[in-house]
């Protein structure tokens, strides 16, 4: 007898409830499924992503930047990069988009409990880590110290300013740097690795979470290893082109692994076994 099989490729309608402009290239879209019952029951974990549909633009994977501890809405922080994301930047509150997911292996939140967490991000790379950080803040007693090192191109490119202010208020050690200063900037100038000079993490209880462009990623890995972090103590989330998001189409292949189902979150120990661009010298 033919069985009914869920149509895994069919997006669901979601409404833009709020738009937070982070900088000239990045906005955070607060979304809720139009089907209220579905929206109420919707669950995800930090590090997972959604496949986003925009009219006539197809789909793209976007990591969820909100925390599941605040249910009812999904945040997607999106940098203008191609046709679909450019179309997203034309969205207004009340518009609808298509969503399916959540997909992918999340950050191992249970393993992170009681740990001192070091978040290192560049540009839009803070988006997937934002969900982890807010989860930690909502379950503050379950995690150790929280440190954010965040690199941007210029002071006007600094995204997630509202979050950074709020995180500081809640006791997160947030340190910023820019590649190029502008008048009025009196803080750090240089690569995000330059923020690591003054850090003295308790190695035995630390985990680093990194997300950013490949060059930054490699530089940070080098520094973390030099500081004594073991490969198992370094987590990252990988970006790849995707079509299905569920492990079938293979566009996100990574030397035998698929970013969509084996990742997007990987430990450095796992990545070291793969022949991928990010791990090349």
């Amino acid at each position: 007898m033919p069985q009914t099989i869920t149509d895994i490729y069919l997006p669901r309608q979601a409404k833009v409830e709020q738009i937070e402009v982070e900088n000239s290239q990045i906005s955070t879209f607060v979304l809720a499924f139009c089907d209220h019952a579905y929206n109420d029951a919707f669950r995800y974990q930090p590090g997972q992503f959604m496949m986003v549909s925009m009219p006539h633009c197809g789909e793209a994977p976007i990591s969820i930047s909100s925390t599941p501890t605040r249910p009812g809405a999904i945040h997607l922080s999106v940098r203008r990069a191609g046709k679909l994301t450019a179309a997203m930047h034309g969205l207004r509150v009340g518009d609808t988009i298509g969503l399916r997911g959540p997909y992918g292996r999340p950050f191992p939140m249970e393993q992170l409990q009681k740990k001192d967490l070091l978040f290192v991000a560049g540009g839009i790379g803070l988006a997937p880590l934002r969900g982890v950080l807010d989860t930690c803040l909502d379950q503050r007693d379950q995690f150790g110290t929280l440190t954010v090192l965040y690199g941007s191109r210029t002071p006007s490119d600094i995204a997630f300013q509202t979050d950074l202010d709020m995180w500081r208020e809640k006791g997160v050690d947030c340190r910023l740097t820019v590649d190029a200063a502008e008048p009025g900037w009196d803080a750090q100038v240089g690569l995000v690795t330059s923020l690591m000079d003054g850090l003295h993490p308790k190695l035995e209880r630390s985990t680093a979470l990194i997300c950013g462009p490949p060059l930054m990623f490699r530089a940070v890995l080098g520094r973390l290893t030099a500081m004594g972090f073991r490969d198992e103590q370094v987590l990252t989330t990988m970006e790849r082109h995707m079509k299905c998001g569920v492990g079938i189409c293979r566009h996100c292949h990574m030397d035998g692994k698929l970013a969509c189902v084996d990742g997007p979150v990987f430990s450095l120990a796992e990545l070291r076994k793969l022949k991928i661009m990010e791990m090349e010298d």
Binding site: S53, P55, T96, G247
Partner: protein, 353 residues
């Protein structure tokens, strides 16, 4: 053990009775079988009128069954953009229950592999709906063609599992082995076409198997290539040299019975309507891994060629215990650059045998 068939039950079908049996089947199922067309090409074809076609079992068809389960292009959904919003409507792919007749072991193995691909991580509704209504009638290969190497990939020339009925050509008759319950149903339902088989028939099948096994003209050391890929001892130069010769045509992937990579794209029908399509893709295409903004995390060409062969001969062996190359040789015939899997295996094994 090929002679100790795991197929539980066997019958005889006289060749004179084949058309009558197929005619009965065609009344209840859509029938797909290899047919020689007016250009002389043998292709799996939907048969509307059995008397108007010539079913060709002696020569491997140029296409595989892939297109019937994963069409070259299919609609996944339609969408509308109205003042109320942007919304999707599901597409229900419906195909009639279909008998696929005359499927060679390589192509049967390929279907079994696709079953894994489309149900392992997530159940793919489009593939599975087509597959659920299918009956596979296989035929063992008595005469492997010069391009065939299924003996090296463990997917032929005879096969023990995967089909509902498995035929072996014994001259004036077929030995018919019933694999699954559905196979028994067929032989019982139309028992008038079948007669009991004897030990002599089964001995003849074994003889045919031995002869078929001796007829391969090509020796392809697939096992050796698998070991070298797993041990990571294939020199980068092998991939680099092969990639120089790849013309990015995708012919290998399109003809391959196990290449199932696809892309999904939107096709606007007008300003407010469109359809979402799934189409065959190829991991060797330059744009396969390019991300928004143009960055490509896979080294163009060399990395893509590495992916093609590593996926088939290492990753799928890890996953299923066997390579997803089924040795049909189609890519060898289509590739004008000499970048096919046989060339890869030969270069990989050079100097190591």
């Amino acid at each position: 053990m090929p002679h100790a068939s795991s197929m539980a039950d066997s019958h005889l079908l006289k060749k004179d009775h084949l058309k009558g049996f197929l005619r009965k089947l065609a009344k209840e199922y859509r029938l797909v079988a290899p047919v020689r067309n007016r250009h002389g090409d043998v292709l799996f074809t939907v048969i509307d009128d059995l008397d108007a076609v010539e079913i060709e079992l002696s020569e491997p068809p140029q296409n595989s069954l892939k297109q019937f389960f994963l069409p070259q292009q299919e609609q996944l959904s339609t969408y509308t953009i109205t003042p109320e919003g942007y919304d999707f409507q599901p597409t229900k792919a419906t195909i009639p229950p279909t008998v696929y007749f005359g499927v060679h072991p390589c192509d049967l193995s390929a279907v079994l592999y696709m079953d894994v691909v489309f149900s392992r991580q997530q159940r793919d509704p489009f593939y599975l709906r087509r597959r659920q209504g299918s009956v596979l009638i296989g035929i063992n290969c008595n005469n492997p063609s010069p391009k065939c190497f299924c003996n090296a990939t463990g997917s032929g020339p005879f096969i023990e599992m995967g089909s509902d009925l498995q035929l072996t050509d014994l001259g004036d008759r077929f030995l018919v082995e019933t694999g699954r319950t559905s196979g028994h149903t067929l032989t019982e339902r139309w028992q008038g076409f079948f007669s009991p088989s004897t030990d002599k028939d089964r001995a003849a099948r074994y003889q045919a198997f031995l002869e078929a096994r001796g007829r391969f003209s090509r020796q392809v050391h697939v096992e050796q290539a698998i070991r070298r890929l797993e041990a990571d001892t294939v020199p980068d130069e092998v991939f680099a040299k092969l990639s120089l010769r790849c013309q990015d045509c995708g012919g290998c992937a399109y003809l391959c019975p196990t290449c199932t990579c696809f892309t999904i794209s939107d096709q606007p029908l007008d300003a407010v309507n469109g359809q979402r399509l799934r189409s065959w893709d190829a991991c060797t295409f330059a744009g396969f891994t390019v991300m928004a903004g143009g960055h490509n995390p896979v080294q163009a060409k060399t990395g893509a060629i590495r992916q093609r062969f590593t996926h088939k001969l290492r990753d799928d062996v890890r996953l299923t215990g066997r390579p997803s190359c089924v040795g049909c040789g189609r890519c060898v015939g289509i590739c004008f650059g000499g970048t096919d899997i046989v060339r890869f295996v030969e270069r990989t094994c050079q100097g190591s045998l």
